[in-house]
Amino acid sequence: MATEEMEQLVRRDYKEGFVTDIESDTLPPGLDENTIAFISKKKGEPEWMLEWRLEAFHKWQEMKEPSWAHLNYPPIDYQSISYFSAPKRPEDRPQSLDEVDPKLLETYEKLGIPLHERAALAGVAVDAVFDSVSVATTFKKQLAEAGVIFCSISEAIRDYPELVKQYLGTVVPQNDNYFAALNSAVFTDGSFVFVPEGVTCPMELSTYFRINAANTGQFERTLIICESRAQVSYLEGCTAPMRDENQLHAAVVELVALDDAYIKYSTVQNWYPGDEDGKGGIYNFVTKRGECRGARSRISWTQVETGSAITWKYPSCVLRGKDSIGEFYSVAVTNGRQQADTGTKMIHIGEGTRSYIVAKGISAGKSDQSYRGLVKIGPRAKGARNFTQCDSLLIGDKSGAHTFPYQEIGNSTAKIEHEATTSKIGEDQLFYCQSRGITEEDAVSMIVNGFCKDVFQELPMEFAVEAEALLNVTLEGAVG
């Protein structure tokens, strides 16, 4: 990218009166090569990264937005979006919790979010994050001693370019799908984790991340690599409702597990779902994929999805290594006018590969939810096995649940099992609980939590407790 172009871009910004200072501002809406050059420059990226982004951009331009999902939303104008916005300056943000929407604070209370995290989550202008700063420093030291790299993807591109070059885009290629291509071109930040051979990451990568995730932006890019015999448990997201001015979110997450490695990736997603009519809610189009590249490697996805107006998300596993294992445990809750099309793909390539899918969908209000799952057994996947259990629970009579299972079996020795149920939250179950003195609302939450139990027990302990609380808050007023 030539300097003149860069300058031109800056001038254009001046002319349109949006950006006054390249150091600290926001790009005007629009997407072209200049936008990408600006982002890359902002991030201080090397030339090869910019080229990679531009390559993705050119592929994206030739692609079409997918329409196969069971979702209904107005067309997105990609030129009306701003692709780089620096975090709000402290003086533009709430100065204390007193200035924050009391309703939001009430929700934090209900979810049991620690007091010192509430301010950060609500976007209050606080200098760094008080005690968590020292916590983070301690963490970093511990991680470094173990040889684990955990940093932002931007830092990784600068500091570990060889690792990034070796793995970025190898699980989710640039042109994998429309949203992944867009992300590849314009991603602004995300996380990078590298666990070297034989190392078990000494801590769950969670608390630290939770606080720092508040401003990760709309095009997140995450890359996690576990070398042979390495292990890591990574927790993404937050149970607190996250508000964001950016309506479109298109993240990409890539996981690579080499021989005997184990990656456990847990997500609790609670983006703003919009008001009662679904207005202002987040559109979440995510590509998450892990590749079990090595023999006996294992990748496990656990997700609790409660937020967003639109969710399009299929955390998947490519089981290439012999005897590798892929797992997907999911709870998706929709209420109000939320729509979710979510599920997984298990691609069996290697011999003796196994996959487990447990998906629980709960639809309340006027929401609509689909489970979409693909189990593909390649010709060389001798003795591959899959077990799928897919249960839907309907609350009220205005919600919808759909199941779209796809199976492609290319090897006759494979064994596939699929169980699916759809049930209405039982009037009989409710009556039974209430006739013991339990209120209807508590009864609903008890029954729903029971329904989700198989998945919740896959979550790390502290997350599981929060997830239950979150479910209750999400379903408040769903009955009666």
Binding site: F431, C433, Q434, G437, I438, K453
Partner: protein, 249 residues
């Protein structure tokens, strides 16, 4: 304690109870008997507040309160408890959790604090022993995979823990072998108290050999046609309901 007056109940357009009246006093055990379709289960379901039953006439009062104006959970909190003929399964919800939630909800309604965990466990273990149930029951999901006998015992266990003022037991003897019946009967008998009443809804006299009622009512076609003491049940066993209907007519 419980006063049912001239109760008329309609289910899906057809009248099931046609002017039923019944008075139960503290300390009494009543048995409500009758042929299939007479409306026996309807009465206890209406008292507990089950959906789909329309009261077109009459009243139900419990300790002076208008039961029909109360929410389902309020009725339970007031001490009206129904033991189900077919208890429903609730996958993923541990038995112990339901017990605890129910007990604490009732305590909260009475303005009492939650029972501390050790005391709660002590209480539950004692009652489990009484019902000859293994502690592993507590960790199993509510009624899931329970045998018929286990479900019935579990219903009585809840009664023993929750200590209602009026325990209504709907066909608690159905599907029980003789040993299980004895255990269930022992459990029910241990509930007998000066300040508590029990209403047994049953088809057969057999149960009443083990739980001897103070009063027996015969329900035919939505009305109580005859009331007597424990002897009446034996008479029914010998002559069947038809004999009663004829003598009542």
């Amino acid at each position: 304690m419980l006063e049912v007056k001239d109760l008329h109940v309609t289910v899906e357009g057809s009248e099931i109870l046609k002017g039923l009246s019944l008075t139960i006093n503290e300390g009494e055990v009543h048995a409500l008997m009758g042929p299939n379709g007479a409306g026996k289960s309807t009465l206890s379901a209406v008292i507990a507040g089950k959906d789909g039953y329309e009261v077109t006439q009459g009243s139900i009062t419990f300790k002076g309160q208008d039961v029909l104006e109360m929410e389902i959970e309020e009725r339970a909190q007031a001490g009206l408890l129904l033991g189900f003929q077919y208890p429903v399964e609730i996958p993923g919800v541990k038995n112990i959790y339901l017990l605890k939630a129910a007990l604490n909800a009732q305590r909260a309604a009475r303005g009492e604090d939650e029972l501390p965990a050790p005391e709660f466990m002590k209480l539950v273990k004692e009652k489990l022993g009484l019902m000859k149930m293994d502690a592993s029951f507590l960790q199993r999901a509510v009624n899931e995979g329970f045998s018929g006998g286990e479900k019935k015992r579990n219903e009585i266990l809840q009664m023993l823990v929750l200590q209602p003022k009026l325990a209504m037991l709907d066909e608690i003897d159905s599907g029980l072998d003789i040993d299980a019946m004895k255990v269930v009967a022992d459990g029910v008998n241990s509930l007998r108290a000066q300040d508590r009443a029990i209403l047994l809804v049953t088809h057969y006299q057999r149960l009443l050999d083990y739980i001897v009622p103070d009063k027996v009512h015969v329900l035919v076609d939505g009305r109580i046609v005859k009331t007597g003491d424990a002897e009446l049940a034996k008479e029914l066993e010998a002559n069947g309901y038809e004999g009663i209907e004829e003598s009542a007519a």
